[in-house]
Subunit: 140 residues, 2 copies
């Protein structure tokens, strides 16, 4: 078991993808007007890519256009103080027209934030990393 | 009630701070080696600043040193499809020595990830924004 400088277990890429498949809500980190921003998005896994939707004309849609972004998913149990976090870094590309509908449906991509969310973005996975968080005596 | 381009209710800064005070886990968006990254952190509110811990010598600690970062907190109910998301953008500064301990204790900052987390970072709040997510008929 590999441990990082914070004492957290380092997850293998296979474990990362398996954990990503169990979640529906992630966060995309982008730049908007030269400032960093993070937006929550519903997502689905399609092969080793991440699909998510953006609204038309939104800051998020403009920010992800061909951009390299960070995408993070975590699941934490506040009672047991255990959980995991997975980070995917890659380049975004918009999926066009009818393809967007079929790809999103195929991957089981769901979106439930208000408003129209017609635009589907595919994030490649250049880098995938993850950590498991476990409660330890005497931490923090 | 103000609505954004995605049909989401725009929260006032007062609502944002009130919601932040109800949560313990947030995500920090930074650059690591010119690539974007997002890390989950435990946090506490201290006035209109955010306090969180980093481990010594970690990527996160190096990345936040005097950096302008994004900090996001959300709370989402997958059943009712409602929730909120708050984004704070500001500059990080490390809180030194004994001050770190007293500030963290005063603010109720808790850290439960494994390993030593001796370094306390204070994030100023240059920009604070938030959205409420509500289920709507016919969305995505």
């Amino acid at each position: 078991m590999d441990i990082d400088l914070d004492g957290l277990e380092i997850l293998s890429p296979e474990e990362c993808w398996a954990l990503l498949a169990t979640a529906k809500l992630g966060r995309v980190g982008v730049s908007v007007g030269a400032l960093p921003a993070i937006f929550p998005v519903n997502f689905a896994i399609d092969g080793e890519t991440v699909l998510f939707r953006t609204g038309p004309g939104t800051k998020l849609r403009a920010a992800v256009d061909k951009a390299v972004v960070a995408f993070e998913v975590d699941q934490v149990d506040e009672q047991s103080r255990t959980g995991w976090s997975v980070l995917v870094v890659g380049q975004c590309s918009e999926v066009d027209g009818p393809r967007a509908v079929s790809d999103a449906t195929h991957a089981g991509l769901d979106s439930w934030a208000g408003g129209e969310r017609d635009h589907v973005v595919r994030l490649s996975s250049e880098f995938v990393s993850g950590r498991r968080i476990a409660a330890t005596e005497g931490s923090g």
